[in-house]
Each structure stands twice: as C-alpha cells, then as structure tokens.
Amino acid sequence: MKQVIFSIAMALTSLVCCSQQEETMKGKINAAAKHNISGTIRNKITGESIIGATIKVLNNREAIISNEYGFFSLTLPEGNYILEISYAGLPKLIKEIHLFTNLTSDIYLDEYSKTLDEVVINNSIPGRSVSGTQMGTERLSIQEMKYIPQLFGEKDPMKAIQLLPGIKAVSEGNSGIYVRGGAADQNLILLDEAPVYNASHLLGFFSTFNPDAIKDITVYKTGMPAQYGGRLSSVVDIRMNDGNSQDYTISGGLGLISSKLNIEGPVQKDKSSFLVSGRSTYVDLFLKLSNDSIINRNKIGFYDLNAKMNFTMGKKDKLFISGYFGNDHLNAGDNFGLYWGNTTGTLRWNHIYSNKIFANSSLIYSNFNYGINLKLGANDVNIFSQIRDWNLKEELQWNPNAQHTFRIGINSIYHAIQPGNVTSSLTSSFNNVVFQKRFSSENALYFSDAWKLNNKWNLTYGTRLSGFSILGKGDFYNLDDRGKITDTIRIDEGKILKTYLNIEPRLAVSYLLTNSSSLKASYVRNTQNLHLISNSTSARPTDRWVASTNNIKPETSSQVSLGYYKNLLGIKYELTVETYFKGMQNQIDYRDGSDITDANALETQLLYGKGRAYGLEFLFRKKSGRFTGWLSYTLSKSEKKIDGINNNEWYNARQDRTHEIAIVGTYKLKKKWTLSANWVLYTGDAVSFPEGKYNIGTETFFYYTKRNGYRMPTYHRLDLAATKVLKQKKRFTSELSFSLYNAYGRENAYSITFRDKKAEPLKTEAVKTTLFRFIPSISYNFKF
C-alpha cells in the first residue's frame, strides 16, 4: 500500500511540475495560441500504420516519433511549419502545414513516389533519435532485414537481431537470444502485446515469427519504458502487419524448408482490413518420399498462422483483432512423439479522446503447451503441460503540450500453469499423475513522462509498481537448507499465499551536445516472476515454466547505462557507444544431479544466487546509399554466484562471450541485383571441461573441477546472399534469392565431447562436432 501511495504521489508531483513549466514557457516563448496536429502515419500503398516514424518540424527543431499504433500528436504555437516525415526503407516526405486551428490528419508515406533508382539512393534509414532519452534500443523493420543472409534462406527476425550489439544467439543456428548477459528466459517476447512463451520452431532453429506477417521488431536492452515489465533482460516487441487497407494483395514464397502464403486486403477500403498469413514446412514430405525405412518412419515439421483484422469506427475509434497459432511435431519411429505450440490472441481498442489523449485497451490471451507420447514396449505414456495467460491492459497517453508525453496504465495477468499431466493405459507400468496446477496473478500500475526540459535536456522518468500474488488452490512447502521439505502449507481456492510487491523505477536522461550528438544515461529496475527451469544447454520445448512461490523469490535486476550517440555527414552514418552494468538477484540454478521432472516440489531441486553483467557496445552504421550496413562490436562479461555451485565462487555464465563482432552489408546493384553479406566472430561460450578421469566398473568417467572454467573455440562465419528481382510490375513482382551460410566452411564447434579412443582404449580424446558448413539455399518470393 505504501508503494501505491508513493507512486501516486510521484505522479501528482510530476503533474504539478509540468503545469508550472507550461506556464513559464508560455510567458517566455509566445503569447500566441497553440494548436495541435495529430493523426496516424501510414504507408500509402498498403495503408499500414507505421510504428516509429520520425516527424520532424524543420523550422523549430521539434521532433517526435509515432507510437506503436502509428499515432502522433504535436502541439505547436500558431504558424506555418514544414514537417519532415521519415521511416526506414521509405522515402522522406516533406509536408507543409498551416496551423491556425487544431488539425487531425493522417499522413501517407509513398513507397513508389520515385523511380526505383532514386528510391535506392534516398532510401535512408532514419537514425535512432539522438535527442530522445531512449537508449539500449534496437529496431529493425522487415525491410532492413530482408537482405540479411540466413540459414536455409529463412528470413528470421529473431536471428537478424542477433547481429546487433549486446544480443547473442543461444547457440549456432538458434533463434533464442541472450541479451546483455541475461539468460534466455529473461526476454519478454511479445507478439502484438501477447507474450510468446516458446518463440521457437524445430527445436530452436527457427523462430515463431513469420516475416511476412511482421511489421516491426523493437528490442529494449535497457531503459524499458514503464509499460513493459516482467522480465529481467530485454523486451522484444514484435508487431504484426494490420493488413492492406487499400488493395488486395497475395504474396508468398517458396523456400527450401518452408513455404508461405500471405493474403491481405481491405474489408472496406481505407477503413478496415484483414490479413492472413500462413507458413508450413514440408520436411515431412521429403522424409516420406524416401525409400529408406530408417528415414520415412520419422516425422518433423511445423506450421503457423497469423491473422489480423482491424476496423476504423468513426474518427476516434479503432479495433484490432489479431491472433497467432503455431504448432510443431516431432515423431521418432513409433516410440516417441512430441508436439508443442503457442496460441496468442489480442483484442485491442484504440480510442482518441481528444487530439492530445490517446487510449488503448487490450485483452490478451496466450497459451503454450506441449505433449509427449511415448511407447516403449508394454508402456505407453502421455504427458501434457501447459501455461496459459489472460491479460488485461489499459493505457492512456497524454500529450498536454510539446514538452510532455505522459503514459499511465494498468496491467493485470492471470497465469495458470499445468506443469505436467501424466496419463497411461491400464496395462502400462505408469501411474496417472497430475502435477499440481499453479495459479497466480501479476498486476502492475505504471506511469511515465517523457519531458523535454529545453533544447538540450530530455528526461524520461516513471515507475512501475508490480505485484505478484500466488493463488490457491495448492500445496506449498517449507524447506530446510538442504532442500528437504519440513512442512506443507495448504492454500484453498481463492486464497492468496503471498504477494510480492516491487517498485521498478525507470529513469532516462539525454543531453544534446551538438545538433548531431548526445549523451544519455539511464537506470532501470526489473522484476521477473515466471522462471524457465531448464537444465539443458539447448532450449527445449519441454523446459518448465514455474511461477514464484514462497521459496522461489522474484528475480530482480538493476541496470545503469551510459551512451554516446553521433550522426555523421548529415544522417548518413550513425555511431552509438553504450556501456552498462547490470546486477541480478535471486537467480536460479539446479542442484547437482537434480531431477527436473520431479513431481510437485520442484523447489527441492533448486539453488539460488546472484548474477552480474557488464559491457561496452559499439555500433557504426551506414544508413543510406547503395551500400548500407553496420559494424557492431560488444565487449562484455556475465557471471553468476550461486550458493552450492563452484564452491560458492563467481563463475562465468555460459553466455559469457568476451568479444563479439558482426559486420553486415547490403549493396544494391543497378537494376536487378542486391548483394549482401555478413560476418560474425565471437569468443567461445564458457563451458566445463574435465581435468581428470576415473573408472566406475569398467567404464571411464570424467572428473570436473570448475564450473564453466574453459572456453569453446572462437566462432566465426561468413554468409552471403544475392537477390534478383525477376519481375517488377505494378501488379506483380517476383524475386529469387540465393544464399550460402558459412561460406568458407569454418568448422565451428557446436559441442565438444570426451570419450575413450576406439583404437587405444586406454587413451581418451576430445571430439568436436560441427553442425553447419556450406549450407546453400534458394527461395522464390512473389507478390501480386
């Protein structure tokens, strides 16, 4: 309660502050009336709203960015203005406005306003705002990632962001990420605001995000705005396309592994539209074609479906319905079947109360489940597990004047987790076991204000008050130091076992050094109440999500960052340097020899400790011209200290990679061809290698001394791609893309294992396994 009062008090104080500010400003600058211009930035061809477009007032240096629904609102003194509207991959638009009354106007950016050649040259990628306070943010539009060469030619947004500083791939070819030294489960991955609990297909080799259905991907590595919360490391905010409101379009692609089809169009021109986008693998077909019974008895594959509709109802209201449905299956012979999938649904309502107040209400559903079917001799076992969320969000954005943008909102999530449900036939050796279902509610109240103090200083401050309540019905346990249960607490339905309250302050400040350079600093605190318990080094769908309990405390992190930003030669080049330190509390690890599938009291298997991560990130980007691309370098450290592991001493987290370099380049040739390449190099993961060996029975086993005391070999790889436009007509375009993954065939170590030598049984050897060398691919994409 204290915290509630505190945050309300803070909100009120800030309101008072700003009204005072406004009055003094009025007195100083202009006595004339102020007016407001608001509206939505859209793509002229598709009618899609554009997230993160920059609206710059050329004659007074004001600049704002459209919000996640494309909406902007700008208040200026009466007068004539020239606006420059820009967005990645689209030509700039210069628009003159005469502001003598409040204006509401949608602004359209036109892809084909110029001939292709000119577009290329002017196709600048607007920079991150040098003056805004937001730091630690990486944004990629689908346009930008289109040409990045990727494994099997699949354009995967999650893999494209791995080429940016501070974001690392979980392992080779994997779509999972580590952000600034955090764990893979510490990323909040949102698809149209709905959390996606397992964002991977095919055991991690692809992400669940079909690029055809995606509009924009934003990663917050620090300074998460107050509207986001619930994970320690990052927020990956992915927004789906709304659907073309101007014209019907069918587009698609044939790839090596999967094919896609995307249909969109207006329901009522300019007012409402729909989008359906599907993707499916056909690996199974190939497996079936094989005459070899060893191949054709196995099955593997995935499909997913994105759908969205939006309706404009009058001038003030907009309704969006979007959904995602995806599923994977893996069958090995008759003995083993595994399926898993996510379902998300989002219902959103934008309402414009006035040209200064924008409101959004969302009702969000998210579900992840997996199932295993086993048949081993006489035994058949089915295991089912699920995590399901209902989530309600309400947010107001208020732009009282050009100095302030307020956000205030509430968020309430109900989680139901079914850790496992084992069923078996009567003749089987297995008992039917139902693990306890776990219920919890996660609530948050937040506010923030982006405040332009003057021409030099910007300040964003805010706080998020989060509460996590563990609900009945269920049995909870008290444990002793060794993890043994001392007694059981029974909580009835509707009762609360415990509520964890946390204040998460968010503070960011920027100082404009010159017109083209700035310094920024930020502080952010995050809390995480859902933990992915995994004892494997590779992410698996069967890893277990658990909520905080009386024993598992909320994970928390505090991060401070400092950054320098510079635009060079106008905005052709951009340089960013950021440094950070992050402390993490209540981190979770396993006891040695623990059994993750152990029934109810998973806590008996866990150990707790802390983590720390710090680093320096450097990004140099060329944003316009025929050649675009970037150079990114990260120097970082990530460590853990867990009671009961490594003699309670600090040790390197597996994802501790000291150096990481990525070079990404795209070159547009005259007419038809686009060439691209990327090269990555990083220090090998921190791993445990044995220093000794011994015998049990007649078999050799290995003796380990230090946790993660060794390194995998340095990793590096070059990928190449070429895209040829086959046809470019008004009604039909098609493209052919070729790519070559790991072009010089570097034998990177996926794993290093140890074993007895076959020829000389008294000797042992280390064996390196390499996954991907020279993987060529081809894909064909069309649109009409």
Binding site: L376, N431, E691
Partner: protein, 297 residues
C-alpha cells in the same frame, strides 16, 4: 538444388538417453552413438555435421580418491575398490590404492575389517548381506577418512526377462524387457546389469518408481549402441542382473550417466552426487541381487 543436398553425406546424431528418464527421454541428448547414413534430407538436426578429434589444453587436477563399495545379499559378497583420478591426458589404467584401512559394519554389530586382496581391492567373506540391514563403511587412506551408509532394501522379485523387438527411429532393435512388481510407497530404486554372451553392456540402467509406484513394471533396457557388437541379435544369450538399491545409489548412477560421461550436451557436465562423505568420488551400495538369462529369438 535439392539434388545437391541429397548427395551430401549427412549424419544423424541419435538423440535419446537410453533409459526412460521421465519426460526428457529422447530429447536432443546427443549421446554416444553416431550412425552414418547417406541420407536424402534431414537438415536442421545435424545437417552435414562432422566430427573431429581436437586437442584441448586441459589443466591438471589434484587427484581424488574414487571408492566403489558394495555389499550384496549373496553370502560373502562384500568388496571395496579404491582408485584415484588421473589427469585427462594420462593413460586410463587407474591404479588401485593400497594400504587403506577399510571396515564395514552390519547394523550395530562389530565392524569387520576388509582384507586387501589385490592392488586397491579390499574384501571380506565375513559379512552376509541381509535385507533391511543398514551398512556403514569406513575408509582411512593416507590420512583421509571417508564414510558412508547404505541400507539394503527389501528384495523385489525379478519376475521375468524377455527380449522385445523395438521399432526405433533409426532401425529395428532388440532390447531386454524386465518385469517386476513394484511395492506400494515411493522410494524404490533399481539398477540393472546386462550381459550379452557374458560381456557386460557398459550403459547404465537405473530406475526409480516415481511414476511407476505400486505397479507391475515392464521396462525396456534401452540404450544407444556405440558399436554393432553391443546390439542384441537373434541367438545371443542375454543375462540381466537386477539389483534393488537404495535411493542414494540410484541418484549416483543417474547423475553419473547424465553429467559425467563426457558427452553430455544435455545437462551441465559435473561430478555425480556421491553418498560417500569426506570428498571422494564413487558410491557405497548395499543391494539385493537376482539374475535371469534368456536366449534372444
């Protein structure tokens, strides 16, 4: 394009951990055996993967004692084998440790001293292991003291042994199937040793009754064959020894097979959970022993 790929020689790394270790069974657990096929297309899992022996500069670790101690319900079957760890690069001949003082105590009876019968091998014919008795082990060697306690469980009858045909994802196999009636109440644990024509299969087979408590257990002793010699073929004589072990021994063997085989891509590698106090590797198991033999058809 596809034709090019189909001509690549691709390896599938079998995944699976042998025993039904609950839910995680079969999930990408790049285990030992690697079978090579000229495959048509099975890309994402180990696409044109290859293996190479490499040199790694591993530090030298301080040597540790390794104790394998057991007493069974077979009269006079009581042995303790003491060895030491060696450096990774040393030959794996693990010399025994002589000159230790080893005693074992049956419940509250007077401790019996074990006699050194070989290099590092200590035995006693004077202990007749009995179900439900608790055994205490004491080892003194070069100034270090190690202790352990193990309770011999009540014997659960080994009802039958058969050989079952199994349609695995990479071909047809034969596996031994053991049947026994698990008594009600969790905490029972079993270890199996499998011999093919009197040659011991090196895989670790352990079971607990977490999910099978109180039921007739039919369990396949599955494993991934590292060599063709390990496969069961028609005509082989298969012998299985069933041991009823205490839970700590189960934990030792299951953690040993999960994290110490050197090939674990599955779990953070580490040392097994030992039931010996004092800082030695190894285990002390008081178990009951039953054997069955069957001819593979």
């Amino acid at each position: 394009m596809l034709a090019i790929i189909s001509r690549l020689k691709i390896k599938i790394i079998s995944y699976g951990s042998g025993r039904l270790s609950h839910g995680q069974l079969w999930l990408i657990n790049c285990k030992k055996n690697i079978v090579t096929f000229p495959v048509f297309i099975i890309f994402f899992l180990i696409f044109s993967s290859c293996e190479k022996v490499i040199n790694i500069d591993l530090k030298k670790a301080e040597s540790k004692y390794v104790i394998e101690a057991y007493v069974s319900n077979e009269p006079g079957d009581c042995k303790v084998h003491i060895t030491q760890t060696v450096n990774f690069s040393d030959p794996a001949d693990f010399p025994g440790v002589p000159g230790a003082v080893v005693t074992m105590q049956d419940d509250n009876n007077t401790p019996v001293a074990l006699v050194e019968t070989g290099y590092g091998m200590y035995e006693s014919k004077d202990i007749n292991g009995t179900e439900d008795h608790t055994y205490s082990l004491l080892v003194k060697v070069n100034g270090q003291v190690f202790t352990s306690v193990s309770q011999m469980p009540k014997q659960v009858n080994f009802d039958s042994l058969s050989i079952v045909d199994f349609r695995s994802f990479d071909g047809n196999r034969k596996f031994a199937n053991v049947t026994f009636d698990d008594p009600s109440g969790k905490g029972n644990a079993y270890r199996f040793l499998q011999y093919k024509n009197e040659i011991l299969n090196k895989n670790i087979f352990v079971l607990n009754d977490d999910f099978t408590d109180g039921r007739i257990n039919n369990s396949l002793l599955t494993y991934f064959d590292r060599t063709y010699e390990e496969r069961i073929e028609t005509g082989d004589s298969i012998k299985v020894e069933m041991q009823c072990v205490d839970f700590a021994v189960y934990k030792f063997f299951s953690s040993l097979s999960q994290s110490s085989t050197g090939s674990s891509d599955n779990v953070s590698p580490g040392n097994p959970v030992s039931n010996i106090q004092g800082g030695a590797l190894g285990y002390f198991s008081a178990y009951t022993k039953q054997k069955k033999i069957v001819l593979a058809k």
